[in-house]
């Protein structure tokens, strides 16, 4: 090859613009990334794997919320309730019908999507802050339903779930369940990336950018707003079901409003309207408490620890860190980690001659 292709992205037609991988190297990078991840159970301990599994599960849910918030411009403060609904639905389906867990998880996703569509009916007519308030109500109504529906959730004592199993292969340990989550993460993220290349995905973005122009161009606003609510709930349901079969126990109290806010935080921190950002935001949110914890542990026993009672109030410190992270990102990096990542990539792309 006499001439190397020019650096950067030069799209000459729509087909190139819409391709999922802008260059051959980005495709290779993805394959390498998947390979590296597939090898992690061989080197990492159970604790690290647990963190990775959590990041994967939260990433799927955050991606769903990002489709709603980042792509369609609707806000939901009830995502954790849908996440919880997916968790309980999968556990309940398995106990009630004895279907294999591998089938229960997608079914739970579909069931949650249906519930999401019910609560999304106001979404078809409301926008912005009104929808935020409606989903806030959905959060409390669903939480109340969880506490009351003993047959569904096990009530206050919680519900025990079965591990994921497929053809006799039982994913009852971190090393095995990691692959289940990895498969789902790849599936859901590729699905989302592809969704955004279709007419439906572009319609969602059009609704966000200017709903009036979108309507003039023949996009049915009510349909797409409800659809995006349904998709977000579907993702939340899948993630919740995975969560249930990972922890092997689901309890009612877990899916409170703070959890919902954490999902929103992931989306904000990762970057509104960025597919890969959802995973980065999830990683940030999962690792933040760990960092706070280890910082508190490093200070344990010292004068600061005694004066501020760090050890006893670690959960409050975590909450404060979450709140502070959300505010700081909004003020200083409103486009989230995804933009930071793009800047880093751009810097290296033109490395020696970046100016």
């Amino acid at each position: 090859m006499a001439l190397s292709p020019p650096a950067g992205e030069y799209h000459a037609n729509y087909r190139e613009d819409m391709t999922i991988f802008p260059s051959r190297n980005s495709r290779r990078a993805l394959w390498v990334g998947i390979l590296v991840l597939a090898c992690t159970p061989l080197v990492c301990g159970r604790y690290e794997l647990g963190l990775l599994i959590n990041i994967g599960i939260m990433g799927i849910a955050a991606l769903g919320l990002n489709i709603l918030v980042g792509f369609t411009g609707q806000i939901s403060i009830g995502h954790a309730a849908f996440f919880g609904f997916g968790a309980f639905m999968s556990a309940w389906l398995h106990d009630a019908t004895h279907l294999p867990v591998a089938i229960c998880i997608p079914l739970a996703g579909l069931g949650t999507a249906l519930v999401g569509l019910v609560f999304g009916t106001p979404a078809a007519r409301l926008k912005g802050l009104y929808l935020a308030i409606a989903t806030l109500a959905a959060q409390f109504i669903l939480e109340d339903f969880f506490a009351r529906a003993q047959w569904f959730t096990g009530g206050t004592s919680g519900r025990i779930t079965e591990p994921f199993a497929l053809f006799g292969w039982i994913a009852d340990r971190e090393e095995k369940f990691f692959y289940v989550v990895l498969a789902y993460v790849i599936l859901m993220f590729v699905a989302a990336s592809n969704l955004l290349r279709t007419r439906d995905g572009r319609a969602l973005v059009a609704v966000r950018d200017h709903y009036l122009s979108a309507e003039v161009m023949g996009i049915n606003l009510a349909y797409y707003r409800t659809l995006s609510f349904g998709i977000a709930s579907f993702y939340a349901g899948i993630a919740g079901a995975l969560y249930a079969h990972y922890l092997l126990f689901v309890s009612v109290e877990a899916f409170n409003i703070l959890f919902s806010i954490q999902f929103l935080g992931m989306v904000i921190i990762g970057g509104l309207g960025s597919v890969s950002g959802s995973l980065m935001g999830a990683a940030f949110m999962v690792l933040l408490p760990e960092v706070v914890q280890s910082a508190a542990a490093a200070l344990a026993g010292g004068a600061i620890d005694r004066a501020l009672r760090l050890g006893a109030s670690i959960s409050f410190l975590r909450e404060m860190a979450i709140g502070a992270a959300i505010i700081l990102f909004l003020i200083f990096e409103p486009d989230g980690l995804a933009r930071r990542w793009r800047l880093i990539k751009a810097y290296w792309k033109l490395y020696p001659y970046s100016h």
């Binding site: 802050l129 935020a132 109500a137 709140g323 003020i331």
Partner: protein
């Protein structure tokens, strides 16, 4: 129907509802002036109540002194929040602003838990008598005080918005920021003032609830109960906020009564306002008195 049971419930609902009304008013104040939906309204109550409790029980100040110092502190607190957190977000999409107030909410809630602990702490006794007898009903003195203060604040708001220079400036800003600016009104100052007043008024409500029930993080739930009230009344109507608060207060007590008598579902006291909220949003999203300019699709 058992009237001897129902009457105190309705009365209780009206008293608590008046407090909701006060908090809803301060919520509407911020929304009207600066178009910010404040999800941290409940934390204003929480911070105000804890500060007042701290001044009273640590330094043994007389109630009026501690109360006044709390109000001064909250005024400053509101201004600082607006200047430091909300001002950089002017012009950002509504989602970012909502998220910022949510972030503020969980930050201050956790901070208060960290400083003061998770258990409810009672105020030192303030009134010589605990209860008074009115119309054959035993009523807590603090509730009477709360009702009095609520009514006082409502009239104060009415005067502020119709007669005072700053109130008129605020209304002008709410109506049209650009026109207000060209008339010589400092819009940033109006924003800061609206947050200050909102924080101050919420803190009054917080102290009153604290005197009745003790101070704990449950106070911040008032900030969430505010949503059914303001949606019912109309998001940008001060009168609607008061009415909405009263209705929600009565509604939750009636829901509890109906539940205890017939349904036996439990927890209706907390959840009923949210069912009402969804219904209102479906039927009449601009509420009873709200501006009908909400874009519906």
């Amino acid at each position: 129907m058992d009237w001897s049971l129902l009457l105190p419930l309705i009365l209780n609902g009206l008293i608590v509802g008046a407090l909701y009304g006060v908090v809803a008013m301060s919520f509407v104040l911020i929304y009207k002036a600066s178009q910010v939906v404040n999800f941290a309204q409940g934390e204003f109550l929480l911070v105000g109540a804890w500060v007042c409790w701290w001044l009273l029980s640590e330094f043994h100040l007389p109630f009026w002194a501690g109360f006044l110092m709390t109000l001064a502190f909250m005024t400053l607190f509101g201004i600082i929040l607006q200047v430091v957190v909300l001002r950089p977000l002017i012009g950002e999409p509504v989602i970012s602003v909502i998220m910022a107030t949510i972030g503020l909410g969980i930050f201050f809630q956790a901070l208060m838990k960290w400083i003061f602990g998770v258990f409810a702490k009672p105020f030192p006794p303030i009134f010589p008598t605990d209860r008074v007898l009115i119309l054959g009903l035993q009523i807590q003195t603090a509730y009477l005080l709360s009702l009095g203060i609520s009514v006082l604040i409502m009239f104060g708001f009415a005067w502020f918005f119709t007669a005072s220079k700053h109130g008129l400036a605020m209304r002008a800003t709410a109506f049209d920021q650009q026109v207000a600016q060209s008339l010589g009104i400092s819009v940033p100052r109006v924003f800061a003032m609206s947050w200050a007043i909102s924080a101050l008024v919420s803190a009054v409500a917080g102290v009153v609830v604290g005197i009745v029930n003790g101070v704990s993080s449950a106070l911040s739930f008032y900030g969430i109960k505010v949503f059914p009230a303001v949606i019912l009344g109309g998001l940008d109507s001060v009168v609607g906020a008061v009415l909405g608060g009263l209705i929600v207060g009565v509604l939750e007590n009636l829901a509890q009564y109906v539940d205890a008598e017939w349904l036996h579902w439990g927890n209706m006291y907390t959840v009923a306002p949210f069912y009402a909220l969804i219904l209102i949003l479906l039927i009449k999203p601009y509420g009873l008195f709200g501006t009908r300019a909400i874009e519906r699709v």
